[in-house]
Amino acid sequence: MVTSMHRRCLALALLLTMAGSARALTVQLSADRTRVGVGDVFSVTVAMTIEDGADVPTPGLHLPPGFDLMGSQSSTSTSISIVNGAVSQTRTVNVVRTVRGNKEGTFTLGPAEVESGGKKVRSQNIRVEIVKELSKPRTTANSARESVTTQREIEDNLFLKATTDRKSVYVGEQLLLSYDLYSRYQIQNPRFGVVPSYAGFWVEKVFEASRLEQRPEVVNGKSYNKSRLKQMALFPTVPGVQKLSQMEFVCDVPIRSRRRSVFDVDDFFSWDPFRSQQVTVRASDLEIEARSLPGGAPRSFSGGVGVFSISARAALTKVTQGDPVTIIVVVDGKGNVHGIGDPARPATNDFKFYNPKGIVETQIQGTLLSGVKTFEYVAIPTASGQVTLPPFRFAYFDPKKERYQELQTEPILFEVSPAEKTQQVRLMTAPVGSAVQLIGEDIRYIKADVPALESQTNYLHRSGLFWSFQALPLLSLVAAWQWRRRQSILEGDVGLARKRRSRSEAKKRLSGARSLLESDGALFYAEIHRALSAFLADRVNLDTAELTSAQAKEVLRAQSVKSSTVHEVVSVLDTCDFARFAPGTGGSADRVTLLSQVETLIDALEKAT
């Protein structure tokens, strides 16, 4: 801790140095105290002036054996000086090293060495006296300088007291350490200074003041305001006499002061009769005896000191052989919950156990630490059927009764269904594997040789032939539809149908007549007659099967057929009638002539009607 007094001294030293050689690198070594107690922490400051712009070197500080370096911090300031019109700029770097002396005696600290630009600069040495014990309770006022308020006066009116609830405990047993501030001042800016690490103890915070609550208390006939600052639960981890190095507390104390000299810069600017002074108070060191636990601990003892209870349960009790099941063992109680090891596993071959996972939850009950430590065991049943998990055993040391206590959980009954055979085999023989790892990547290999490559661009949709073939079913459908339509029309209109069929009917009859050409004259003429008259009837859709020549004449006239044709038809019909009823008339030559005449006549009539 750098006090303001020290800073002022340092500034003066620097000023002097700078006057000597403003630009050169200088190194100054100073300590905030030169007389300190064993184990006390004090500050050693290496002040360097360097040219602006140069790199900040790291000073090397030689510490004699018996000193520990606790920490380091640095600060930088820049100053501009004008001497005879020449402006020079200097940077001052203060490196503050926090040091602890562990041995009694007088020691020489330093020199501090700084290397810059290939040049080594050394500081002077300082002598520090480490004494066994400073008068206690000790107050470190920031004054070597004289003040109205003497150090003695401050010590009488402000002190920090550390108390423990007992001086001798077992290893692992709780010890309550309390810090109380006794003050007769109106203190300001209270804050914690150095908080020790309490080596050799497990520490749990019980209470820490966020603001000072003062209660009046009389000590040695004087009335003080007592404030509880902090309470901690300590658990010794190793046996033996343990020294509790103590905490420091910093606050500002208003102190009446008077003007000392015109060179005192602060006073020069402030005439305030009341000034505050930063004061660091430190509690006295304490010694605690940590006793070893007595011998004869049960095998299931795993370090618990206090009063505990234990319980165990399984996440589920109906399981399959080979499937893991979680068993939760809970140790609950007051004492060093952190220091508890795994409860002793039941000795059984029916389960395979894995190392448990321990979870600690603590809380403060009054000033006693209590808590729950939960152990999650993963167990795999190796037997099947009704399997009992024997109890977990847990022993702890009760410091009040000064003896060991052993507890055990209830046994847990499992219903284990046998594993399927394949699963069992897999469980037993499955080798430890890992996912296949990709080592390198490349393109896929080329396609293989082929006996014949085929073109893949013979696209059907590009071929006109393909699309013209598509017209085929459509066209056939259209044709079929047309044909069907015609059919239906024919079926509906008898006249038209007769007209359509007339020619083929007539042809049929004529060919029939041709076959009768040589054999039977009467039948031949009858056939000719029928062919012609039926043809006419079909053409004009007359009900009668045959027409007489008179009827034919009439019909044809109505159809306005040429009179020559009408005349011819009538003559053919008359010839036929005559020949039919007067056998023997007409030779075969006549018949052939008649046949061809009728054929041409039918052609003519077809056009005419």
């Binding site: 396609k447 040789d449 082929v450 014949a452 490559l453 893949q456 032939l465 056939s476």
Partner: protein, 255 residues
């Protein structure tokens, strides 16, 4: 009647001639391809490239040749040409796992990246289905559906019985025919999309067809683009993210 049969005869003749020349070119292309493969196996990739290209110059279009050519180009460090040939192979054979694998592998090595959302499962399914059916398959579907529909129509026309069943057949046919034709049309349009691959190591996209125009983006070898317009030696290209710009046409090659 005689006219129609004459036309059919000449058509068949043309087909025979076509198939014959096809087989001719195919046999020489196959020899070149297999020879190229042998060189590839020996590690003579440059020579393999030449042979594969000779095989393709016979006019044969086969995805295996393009794929192996792409591989050979990749092996000699021509990433742009490798991707170009993989893409050409993919057009002919969109479902081939090797082609898809190497396209994605090669695309992992190009410089340009475009943020694209991975397609959802429905899109993936539809695209998969779309790629699964080749254009000829669609043509056959259209053809068969047409015949089926006409048969259905004929059956209704002549028998008059089971009108409902035949009606359903016709409806199904019309639907299949329409769907097949639509997908085919999309596919044909897709195949004729003027896509290209950047072959130059680096090209600058400009705001107009000329080197005086403002630079709008930089492209690198292997990036796939769509050519939208041409003007002289310059082409307006469109990137997958919608960005457009003019680049010299000799820096890209169409798939």
């Amino acid at each position: 009647m005689t006219k129609a049969s004459h036309a059919a005869l000449s058509g068949v003749f043309a087909l025979v001639v076509l198939i014959f020349t096809d087989i001719q070119s195919s046999s020489s292309a196959t020899a070149l391809y297999n020879e190229g493969n042998a060189l590839y196996r020996k590690g003579a990739f440059v020579e393999a490239v030449a042979l594969y290209e000779d095989a393709l110059s016979t006019g044969l279009e086969n995805s295996d040749v393009y794929y192996n050519l792409g591989n050979a180009h990749y092996k000699v460090g021509e990433l742009g040409l490798a991707i170009l040939n993989y893409e050409r192979a993919l057009r002919l054979n969109p479902m081939d796992a090797d082609i898809l694998g190497n396209i994605s592998f090669a695309n992992g090595r190009i410089t340009d990246r475009f943020e694209e959302d991975p397609p959802n499962i429905v899109t993936r399914f539809l695209v998969g289905l779309y790629d699964l059916v080749p254009p000829n398959g669609l043509s056959v579907v259209v053809s068969v559906a047409l015949v089926m529909g006409c048969l259905g129509g004929g059956a209704i026309l002549f028998s008059g019985r089971h009108r409902l069943t035949w009606g359903a057949v016709i409806a199904f046919s019309v639907l299949s025919c329409g769907l097949g034709a639509t997908v085919l049309a999309i596919k044909v349009a897709d195949l004729s999309t003027p896509q290209g691959i950047v072959l130059a190591v680096e090209i600058v996209g400009r705001s107009g067809p000329g080197s005086d125009f403002l630079q709008v983006f930089m492209l690198h070898e292997g990036t796939k683009i769509v050519l939208e317009r041409q003007e002289g030696a310059w082409g307006l290209i469109r990137l997958p993210n919608g960005l457009g710009g003019w680049v010299p046409l000799d820096a890209i090659r169409m798939i």
